[in-house]
Symmetry: C2
Subunit: 511 residues, 2 copies
C-alpha cells in the first residue's frame, strides 16, 4: 500500500491524480494533466479545498495514510461566519482523500442579458445551463447574499466529488438568480404562471382580448379564481431550486463525461443560508445536526439501501428488466441455497415492513437487490449509499447491469428559520461525512462541541476550527499498535473525515 | 333525498341493501337477497355491527338522515375490554351508513389437519385461503387470546366494508395460527427457513447427508453461519402477518366479485392485541390515537392523495400507460389553460418536495393525476383516499382507466407495548373514521375524553361507550336551522361517524 501511495503522490505533485485508486500510468511526465482511462483529461485536477491554501508539499503530506495528518484552516485565514473546518484522509482504503468541501459567500443577482428569457428558467429541457463563475460578480457585493457550505463524500474515485464541490453552489446561485425578482419581494406569494418576460401571467377572462395582460387589473381577473389554485410559498420555491440544482449537477457530470474523465460518484450535503433561513439539503449518508443550547436538532436523514429499501424494491418490481435477470427485488434474511427450493423462508417485498414466510421458488435463488445489514448493506452487491451525484457508468461487477437507475440525485431539504430562534455563541450547525458519525453519535458530538466551545475564548477566531478538529480526532482516534483507536480503545474510523462547525450567531457583521 | 331513503328502507327491511347509493330496483319482493347490477347476490346482507343487537325497527331508525340517531352499545351488553362504541349515519351523502365496525375476542390455534402443510403458510400462491369462522372454536377458550377492533369506512357502496368487517379478523387469526408454534415460544427468534412440516430448516453442511436434518445439531451447523443472516423479531413477523392478511382480504374481495355483488371499497383501520402488544394497522384516512395521562400518542398516519403524492406520481412516471393518455403525473398548482402553452408554470414531479418553474408543453394540458387540496384532493379526479380494500372495478368517470393500480391495500402497522407502560382507567385507544377527525383535532379528542372519563363513575360499565358517544356528538353537532352545527357554531361533520374508545387497563379480568 505504501508504495502505491508514493507512486500516486509523484503523480500528484506533478499535477493531479484524477482517478483515485482506479489510476493508471499514462500521465504526461511532469505535465499539468493526467488522462483518464479513455484518454480524457480530468474536469478539475485533484486537490484539497482552496481555502486550506495548501502548498504542494502540504498537499503531499495530507495524503500520508500512515500518519493521517489533520488539516485545518490556517490561523489567520478566515471563512464566512467564522466557520470552523477540519479534515483527514482515510487509513488506506483509497489512495487519495475522496471527501471534498466548499464554503463560499455568493450574491444572487438577476441573470444578465440574453440568458434571462431563454433556457435558464426551464427545467424541462435537460440542457446543462451556463454557469457564471465570475470572480468580479462574486465580490462587488450587490445582490442578495447567499452562504453555501458543502461536503461531498466521493466513492470509486474523486472526480465527481471534486466537480460538485466546484460547481454545485454556482448552479444554486444561478437558479436563484432566475427567481431574483421574486426573492426581492418576499412578502407576496410567487406567481403560479410566468410569461416569457418573467412577469406574472394570468389567462384572460372570456370577455378579455387574447393578448397578454398589460393591465394590472387583468391579473386579478375573477373568471380564473373559480378554479382551485394552490398557494406556493417562497420557501418551497427555494427548496425546488435546490432540488433542481442537484439534478442539474448530476446531468452536468453525465454530460461532461463525454469530454472529461470524471471518476466515481459522491454523496452531497449542502447548507444554504438565504434571507434568514438555513436550507439543509442531503443526498447520501453524510449528516448535519444543529446544536442549540446543547440539544440536538437533526437536519438530515441518511439515504442507504436499508432506509430506501422499499423505494428500490418498488422500482425493481415495476421495472424487472433493470435487475438484468441476476437480482430479485424480494428481500430475504440471508442467501438461499438451491437445496432450500420448496421450503418456506422469511421474506418481505416492497409493500412490507414486517416479514412473512413464502415458499421458495427458482426465481428467489437470484441475488437480492438489497443485501446486508447496517454499514454493510449494498444495492446489487455494489454500493452502500442510494443518493448522490455521478456514478453514471457504475455497473455490477462483471456484468452489464447499471446501478444508476436505482440511485437518486435528489436531496431531502429541511429548513431551519435562523431568525425565529435565539442563538448563543456555542450554538452551531455541524456537517460531517459518514467517517465522523460512524463512530461518534449525535449526542456525543453535541456534548463534545458544547464542552469544547464553553472552555474556549469566545473571541478566538479559531474556536470553531478547533472544535471541528476536536470532533474529528474523536472519530479518527490515535494510532496505536493495533490501529487507530479511540479513547475507549474501540476502533476509530478508517474513512476520510470532513467536518464543518458553523456558528449560528454573530454573522451579521459578515453579511 | 327523503323519498330515496324511504325507498331504500323498504328494501332494507325486506332484506338488505347491498349497493349503497348505487342501488337499483330488481330486488325480489320480500326476499332475503337483493341482487347486484350483474344479477349477483350480495356477499353479506347490509346491517349494522352484530354487537349492537338492532331489531329491524331500530335498523330502519338508524338510517334517518334527518335526525341522525346515535347508536351505542345497549346497557347490559358488553364488549371485550369494556370497549365503548358509538356510531351515526351521514347527513344524506349516501343512503346507508357505509361505515362498519368489528370487535371480537378470538383464540389463535394451530391450523387443524391437512391445511397445516398446504397453502396456508404460502403467500406466494394468491389463492384465497380457507377461513375458519367457527363459533365453537371461538368460545372454547384454548389457544392464544387475540383481541381485534376494526373500523371500515366504505365508499361507493357498503359491500367491501361489510365483507371486511366480517372476515379480516378471521384472516389475521388464521395467518397467526400458522405461526402458532413460534408464538408459543416467544423467547427464541423465528427461524429464517421452515421445512414443509413447519420445523426450522437449515441447509446441510458440505459433509452432511442430503436429507432434511432430523438431528438437532445439524440446525446449528457452522458452515452456514459464515453467511450474513438477519435476525427477524417475532414482532415483525406479526406485523408481516397483518400486512399479508390485508392483502389476502383484498384478493378475496376481488375473487368473490365473480360470484357476489360486493360494492365499493373501504378504508380499513384495525387494532390487534396479542401477547401484551397492541398492533395498529391503518390503510386509509381513519385515525387512531392513544391517550395516556391526557397526552396524545398518534398511532396512525393518513393515506391520502396529498400524503402519498410522490408514490402515486412515481407509479404514473414509471407506468405512463396506467394514466390512459388522459392524465399527467406532474403536479401543477392549478389547471392549465390552452392559452398558457409556452409560458412557465410552477410544478413538481415525483422527486420534488419544493416547486420550480417549467415551460408548459402540450402534454402538461392533461388532467393532473393528483388534484385538489386537503379533503378535496383526488386521485384521477375520482377518489380521496389512496389505501384500502376493494375498489377493484373503480374507473375514472366515463373512461376505461382503472384507479386500483394506484391504490394500496397494505396497512402501515405501528406497535405499542402495553406491558411496558403504566395505564390508568382514563387511558384509552380511540379509533375513529374520518367523520370524527375532520372537525375535531387529536388534542380536542384527548381533552374531551379525559374530561369526560374523569367525571364518570370508574365502575360504570358504560363509561367508555358514553365517552365514545360524547366524542361523536362533538363531531356531529346538533341540527339547527342551518344544518348540523357544533358548539362553536361551525359546521358539524356530515359524514358517517364511527368511534371506539378502548380502555388500556383492567382487561386482565377479561382474558
Amino acid at each position: 500500500m505504501i508504495s502505491k501511495v508514493k507512486n500516486a503522490m509523484s503523480n500528484l505533485v506533478g499535477g493531479m491524480m484524477p482517478h483515485g485508486h482506479h489510476h493508471h500510468h499514462n500521465h504526461h511526465a511532469g505535465g499539468a494533466q493526467t488522462c483518464g482511462p479513455d484518454g480524457l483529461p480530468p474536469r478539475f485536477p485533484y486537490g484539497r479545498p482552496e481555502f486550506l491554501e495548501l502548498t504542494p508539499e502540504l498537499l503531499q503530506y495530507s495524503t500520508e495514510h500512515a500518519s493521517r495528518p489533520v488539516l485545518t484552516l490556517k490561523r489567520g485565514s478566515r471563512l464566512p461566519w467564522r466557520t470552523g473546518y477540519a479534515e483527514v484522509i482515510n487509513a488506506g482504503k483509497s489512495m487519495l482523500n475522496e471527501d471534498q468541501a466548499c464554503c463560499e459567500k455568493l450574491f444572487v443577482k438577476k441573470p444578465s442579458g440574453k440568458h434571462r428569457n431563454s433556457t435558464l428558467l426551464d427545467n424541462n429541457t435537460r440542457r446543462s445551463p451556463p454557469i457564471s463563475v465570475d470572480a468580479s460578480q462574486k465580490r462587488d457585493g450587490t445582490g442578495i447574499p447567499l452562504h453555501f457550505w458543502g461536503v461531498f463524500d466521493g466513492h470509486a474515485g474523486s472526480g465527481a466529488a471534486i466537480m460538485a464541490s466546484k460547481l454545485l453552489h454556482h448552479l444554486i446561485k444561478d437558479r436563484l438568480g432566475e427567481i431574483c425578482h421574486l426573492l426581492e419581494n418576499p412578502s407576496s406569494a410567487p406567481p403560479i404562471c410566468l410569461a416569457k418576460n418573467g412577469n406574472p401571467f394570468q389567462v384572460e377572462s372570456k370577455k378579455g382580448a387574447s393578448q397578454e395582460p398589460e393591465d394590472p387589473d387583468a391579473v386579478c381577473d375573477s373568471s380564473v379564481r373559480f378554479y382551485m389554485e394552490k398557494v406556493v410559498s417562497l420557501e418551497s420555491l427555494i427548496m425546488g431550486v435546490i432540488e433542481t440544482a442537484f439534478k442539474q449537477m448530476d446531468d452536468l457530470i453525465e454530460k461532461e463525461k463525454a469530454s472529461y474523465a470524471i471518476s466515481g460518484g459522491c454523496c452531497a450535503l449542502a447548507a444554504i443560508h438565504l434571507m434568514g433561513k438555513l436550507y439543509v439539503a442531503n443526498a447520501g449518508d453524510s449528516r448535519a445536526i444543529i446544536i442549540r443550547n446543547k440539544e440536538v436538532i437533526p437536519m438530515t436523514n441518511e439515504f442507504t439501501p436499508e432506509s430506501e429499501r422499499q423505494r428500490l424494491q418498488y422500482l425493481g418490481f415495476l421495472r424487472p428488466e433493470l435487475l438484468g435477470n441476476e437480482f430479485t427485488h424480494i428481500e430475504f434474511p440471508r442467501r438461499i441455497q438451491h437445496s432450500e427450493l420448496g421450503k418456506k423462508m422469511l421474506y418481505r417485498d416492497h409493500t412490507m415492513t414486517g416479514w412473512a414466510y413464502k415458499t421458495i421458488i427458482e426465481d428467489d435463488l437470484k441475488f437480492p437487490l438489497i443485501y446486508g445489514e447496517g454499514k454493510k448493506a449494498r444495492v446489487m452487491a455494489t454500493i452502500g449509499v442510494t443518493r448522490g451525484l455521478g456514478d453514471h457508468d457504475l455497473k455490477v461487477y462483471n456484468s452489464n447491469i447499471y446501478i444508476k437507475p436505482f440511485l437518486s440525485c435528489v436531496p431531502e431539504v429541511k429548513v431551519y428559520n435562523l431568525e425565529e430562534n435565539k442563538h448563543g455563541p456555542d450554538d452551531v450547525l455541524v456537517m460531517g461525512t459518514d467517517g465522523l458519525w460512524d463512530v461518534t453519535t449525535d449526542r456525543d458530538v453535541a456534548e463534545a462541541v458544547s464542552t469544547y466551545l464553553s472552555c474556549c475564548d469566545p473571541s478566538d477566531p479559531m474556536r470553531y476550527t478547533l472544535a471541528a478538529q476536536d470532533l474529528l480526532m474523536r472519530s479518527r482516534g490515535v494510532l496505536k499498535e493495533r490501529g487507530w483507536r479511540l479513547a475507549n480503545d474501540r476502533l476509530g474510523s478508517g474513512d476520510d473525515i470532513t467536518v464543518f462547525v458553523i456558528p449560528l450567531v454573530g454573522h451579521e457583521t459578515d453579511t
